[in-house]
Amino acid sequence: MAAGGSIDALSQFKLEPVLGLDFTQSNVMMVVAGVLTFGLLWLGMRPRAMVPGRLQSAAEMAYETVLGMCTETIGPEGRAFFPFVFTLFFFILFGNLLGVFPFFFTYTSHIAVTLALTVFVVGLVTVVAIRIHGWHFFSYFVPQGVPGALLPLLVPIEVLSYLSRLISLSVRLFANMMAGHVMLEVFGAFVVMLGAAGVIFWIPAGFSLAVNVALIGFELLVATLQAYVFAILTCIYLHDAVHLH
């Protein structure tokens, strides 16, 4: 944290091997997120009650929210992509939410993770579009109602715009998570440093602590919102792939 009087806000993102294995704390958290998602659904749906209890309600709400997201955004074809979007949404949601706990690692704060997810999404979208529309897919890059002379200029722009999803989707998630955790770290370090500086500084230290409390709440909001945004944008891209123009 506040090592040697300076704020070291970035060392929290350092990967450390667990138990000397080739397996980092980031990977451990991914496994935990997977187990929790599976546990929520398995334990939640075990009673199979007509009138659901709390856990079953949560499981059903999770299912229905994502199903609604798929069918409303993609259309009736969206059901085919439900397992994918559900997995993606809950992997990111649990990654974001677990990161808010002290001593837990936020794997979505690494661009390597979010970029890998995004490459997978954009790859899938492209494969789906080519599978459904064949060569017609490439008409996606040709804007309608444009004089032919402008096409050599506009088609590369469209292709770049398509590829820029890779960066925009991954950077949005990664930047939000990393920025939030850096802010937490900075204000946490303020509390320690001001608290140690003398009685007079306890008032600003208390203020920093209050800011940190507010930030934790804000982080919960951002964690959920970013998982939702990632999933809904995936759905919108899938909609484009299925319906094309």
């Binding site: 409303e72 955004t73 590369p156 722009i157 469209e158 770049l160 715009s161 590829l163 820029s164 999803r165 890779l166 960066i167 925009s168 950077v171 949005r172 930047a175 945004v229 809904i232 944008l233 919108i236 909609h239 484009d240 319906h243 094309l244 123009h245």
Partner: protein, 117 residues
């Protein structure tokens, strides 16, 4: 008789309306998020959110373009023309992304036809 005519014809639409108004006031119905959802949710975002979104859209296109331009230049013997051209194209693609974010859309149906882009 008087109950029927009193409830069915003149008051029932207003009752429906009042019910809808009350429900939306209590947050039981949520129509506004639905409109924002399709366009990639610019609708219900804070100014900060919009700013961040626009910045990311513009920069991401530029990043991809610079990467491609640099890669092509590297492949073809370090010629700077590729990166010069692709920076311009990337800037244009960034503007296009932002335009798609805020483009006025006449109706819902047209939006769906356009592919919601």
């Amino acid at each position: 008789m008087s109950e029927e005519s009193g409830e069915d014809e003149p008051t029932s639409p207003s009752f429906e309306e009042r019910l809808r108004a009350a429900r939306s006031r209590q947050g039981l119905d949520a129509p506004p998020p639905l409109t924002g959802r399709d366009t990639g949710d610019v609708g219900g975002m804070s100014p900060w959110g919009i700013g961040l979104r626009v910045g990311i859209e513009m920069v991401s296109a530029l990043v991809v373009a610079v990467a491609i331009g640099w890669g092509l230049g590297y492949l073809f013997g370090g010629k700077p023309i590729f990166i010069a051209v692709f920076v311009l194209l990337g800037g244009a693609a960034g503007i296009l992304n932002v335009w798609r974010l805020f483009a006025p859309r006449p109706t819902r149906d047209r939006k769906v036809q356009d592919g919601g882009r």
